[in-house]
């Protein structure tokens, strides 16, 4: 394919070189990393042979960090500094966490996202997630014997923009090049669909540790098309643990527990929940630090009873997703079960009854998301020239802006196929108004207060004129990661004010850079060397790509433009000899900027040719 030739600058140098790429399932309870090795998709185990990495991070006063099993084993000992289920905190403020049950942390309310006060200092959920991701990156690099080209990180389909941005920031902080944020049910559908050669309309029911997604997909040869998605980004196995925890306190008549006992009883609750998948009843025993003891028996019927409302909470989004897809239960060929929490018998039963068919359990619900992500990472890294599939995903929640009366004007409706962009024009309310406040929100409700606030910004410098005569065009662009950027422009008088906003919940680029640099300086010169090497590789790749472009499509550049490009190339070439990775990065950006119009024209030419070729072959056949 002509297009792939443009985008693969490394091709001429080493056409068959396998580029190391991984898929990472960053889960509430457990995380995994997988890759495609010699054509086979595998989960990468740790040195002890464990496939799962418990998503638990413990911070010590001396700055040491434990991630995974060591942290999990001691979580009851040091609950305040041992962070579990951090995914539930991503992109969330303190207010959002009301009603999630007792959590043994010292929260710090921060603008945008809550933070945690630990013995190693204040940590944002992004940093905690980055510690998990860094562990997986190191596992992958050790196991594959080289540096990664990039990673696909999965997120719940129902994650909003703030949660997605936080996840991407965490990955960057962990030193990963994010090839794509991929929705978890979509990743599962790739793994399931490719393994089983499935065609038709499927539902993916994904109940994880802290999030619930339902996606309806159409699978046909080489295409995975998400028709609709819905869910609840604060519903998962954890909530079932909380119900058992509350039941335990009530039945055992013990005093309100301290942090340590809370963690202990939550762990016991989780063990009981898991045991009830295969046993009719289970003993819940615990010795509390108060000297009291808990000795109870929980049976399957009681467990189903105390969690009934949670089960029915999964069916409301399921109904909505079906309706949005314009389908009924009869149209669904199969229901793929994903996430450890779908092992619970009451979930299996409820799903079976709702869809009037036995759910599909012929894959490991813990691993399937990571496997699908690895398959997609392999494609995105450019390791497959033939037989690529096309993935068409959607945005889960509508995007809009605040208008008069604190109402929401929707600009991009939920379930729009991404990437998607929409523009809307607004005007001034008063004579002589020179500024306008724009408030970007996400959600389905009519009132601003009921939606998530993503960003606020002011557009200033509007020339004073009569009310209603200014033309302010606000453009929403959602990229293939499901991430939003907003641009506003006043253009009625030829005067342009231009603002690009990143949602306030994410870290600013400068924050990420600072944190990365801190970690560089803390670690060793290794990291510096690595950063330099990365920039050098990228610099050489882009130089080669641009040379090829100038040779192949030289007719598309004017003299002045060519001179500017060549100047940027020379500068980059010079800097590549040195060791300043920041300067190289800047030179790469400058060259990218200089070649942007050329890249656009080349792509337009190549797409037009490819499409014409296709139409011709259709006529011939």
């Amino acid at each position: 394919m002509a297009l792939l030739q443009i985008s693969e600058p490394g091709e001429s140098a080493a056409p068959h070189q396998h580029r190391l790429a991984v898929g990472i399932d960053l889960g509430t309870t457990n995380s995994l990393v997988a890759t495609v090795r010699s054509g086979v998709t595998v989960v990468l185990n740790d040195e002890q042979g464990h496939p799962l990495l418990p998503s638990v991070v413990r911070y010590f006063p001396d700055g040491r960090v434990d991630v995974g099993y060591p942290a999990q084993r001691r979580q009851s000992e040091d609950p305040r500094n041992t962070i579990v289920s951090v995914k539930r905190l991503m992109g969330r403020g303190l207010k959002d966490l009301e009603g999630t049950g007792r959590l043994p942390y010292r929260f710090v309310d921060a603008p945008g996202m809550v933070q945690l006060d630990t013995s190693a200092g204040v940590k944002s959920p992004v940093e905690v997630s980055a510690d998990i991701l860094r562990t997986l990156r190191m596992r992958a690099e050790a196991s594959l014997g080289g540096e990664l080209v990039g990673a696909v990180i999965t997120v719940p389909a129902y994650f909003d923009d703030a949660q997605r941005q936080a996840t991407k920031d965490a990955a960057r902080l962990a030193g990963l090049n994010v090839l794509r944020l991929l929705n978890e049910p979509t990743a599962a559908a790739i793994a399931y669909g490719l393994d089983n050669g499935s065609e038709g309309t499927y539902a993916v029911f994904d109940l994880g540790g802290g999030t619930f997604d339902i996606s309806i997909l159409k699978l046909s040869k080489g295409v995975f098309e998400v028709l609709a998605t819905n869910g609840d980004s604060a519903l998962g196995g954890d909530d079932f643990d909380q119900r058992v925890f509350c039941w335990t306190l009530e039945k055992a008549h013990v005093a309100p527990p301290n942090d340590r006992d809370t963690r202990l009883l939550l762990t016991k609750a989780r063990d009981a929940k898991e045991a009830l998948t295969t046993h009719p009843d289970i003993n819940v025993n615990a010795a509390l630090s108060s000297g009291e003891s808990v000795n109870l028996v929980l049976d399957v019927e009681t467990f189903a009873d105390i969690t009934r409302t949670l089960v029915s909470k999964t069916l409301v989004p399921t109904r909505k997703a079906l309706r949005d897809a314009g389908l009924t239960v009869a149209d669904i060929k199969g229901v793929v079960m994903v996430g450890g929490a779908t092992r619970m018998p009451q979930i299996q039963r409820a799903v079976g009854e709702f869809f009037k068919q036995e759910p599909l359990n012929n894959l490991d619900p813990d691993k399937v998301v990571a496997l699908g992500a690895a398959m997609q990472a392999n494609v995105l890294a450019g390791n497959r020239a033939e037989g690529d599939w096309l993935l068409l995903d959607v945005i889960p929640l509508s995007l809009g802006v605040e208008t008069m009366g604190a109402l929401v004007e929707k600009i991009i409706p939920r379930n729009s196929t991404i990437p998607v962009a929409r523009a809307q024009e607004f005007t001034t309310y008063k004579d002589g108004q020179t500024a306008m406040a724009i408030h970007v929100v996400q959600g389905e409700r009519e009132l601003v207060a009921d939606c998530r606030s993503l960003a606020r910004f002011e557009l200033r410098g509007i020339a004073p004129m009569v009310a209603g005569s200014a033309r302010i065009r606000v453009t929403f662009q959602v990229d293939a990661d499901g991430l939003l950027s907003v641009t506003a422009r006043e253009a009625s008088q030829g005067v342009e004010a231009h603002v690009v906003v990143k949602p306030s919940y994410g870290l600013a680029d400068s924050d990420i850079t600072r944190m990365l640099e801190e970690s560089f300086s803390n670690a060793s010169s290794d990291m510096q060397a690595r950063a330099l090497r990365e920039q050098q590789v990228e610099g050489r790749q882009i130089l080669e790509a641009v040379s090829n472009a100038l040779r192949g499509d030289g007719d598309l550049v004017g003299e002045e433009e060519r001179a500017a490009i060549e100047k940027a190339m020379d500068r980059l070439q010079q800097l590549l000899e040195g060791s300043d990775h920041r300067a190289i990065k800047e030179a790469i950006e400058a060259l990218n900027h200089a070649t942007e119009p050329l890249a656009a024209r080349r792509m337009d030419r190549s797409v037009t040719q490819a499409l014409r070729g296709q139409k011709l072959s259709e006529i011939e056949s």
Binding site: K320, L390, M404, V420, A421, E425, T595, M603, V607, L611
Partner: protein
């Protein structure tokens, strides 16, 4: 201080092809939807950002613009109402959906009846009554769709088509209100 001013606009003014040209389809109301589906997938296979995940930033951005354009084109042509609206516009006629609220008297009468039925059903939280109105609207929609086909493909009466589009727009808004209410009743 903001207030909605106008309808949503097309995003990519720099793309010179119209949506029918992009997919190699004749510019008509009656289209072969399976050909549209195939053509859309062909275009996305060429331009989708997943094909450029490793490319320099400039190409990644252009790929996103192309894929965005293809999605917009596909969504516009897939739905009969938006396809009709687009054809009317291509032929230089404004559908005046925001400004022209005048309706023929008989449609106006039915408009009022439907509205009252929806308001009543909302107050009494009567899902069955809402679904009854939805069924009636679906019937009316069918009539309007054949009207659109006649205006656009046979009579080439773009002003007549614009009138039908305005009626359809009303139906669509009311349908959205009904499904929104049904959703709230379920929660």
């Amino acid at each position: 201080m903001t207030a909605p001013f106008s309808m949503q606009r097309s995003m990519n003014p720099e793309f010179s092809q119209n949506y029918f040209e992009l997919f190699g389809l004749p510019a008509a109301y009656a289209i072969d939807t399976s050909r549209l589906d195939v053509a859309y997938r062909d275009v996305q296979s060429q331009v989708h950002p997943d094909r450029f995940a490793n490319a320099p930033e400039a190409e990644r951005r252009r790929s996103m613009q192309w894929a965005t354009f293809a999605n917009e084109a596909y969504q516009t042509l897939k739905s009969p109402l938006s396809r009709a609206r687009y054809l009317v516009k291509l032929n230089g006629v404004d559908t005046e959906e925001e400004t022209n609220t005048a309706m023929p008297p008989d449609f106006l009468m039915r408009q009022m009846e439907w509205r009252e039925a929806v308001v009543g059903a909302k107050q009494t939280r009567d899902a069955d009554a809402l679904e009854n109105v939805a069924r009636e609207l679906a019937g009316e929609r069918k009539v309007l769709l054949s009207e659109l086909a006649r205006c656009l493909d046979v009579a080439k009466d773009y002003h007549g088509a614009a009138g039908a589009v305005r009626k359809m727009r009303f139906l669509e808004k009311l349908e959205e209100e009904i499904s929104g209410t049904l959703e709230l009743l379920e929660d």
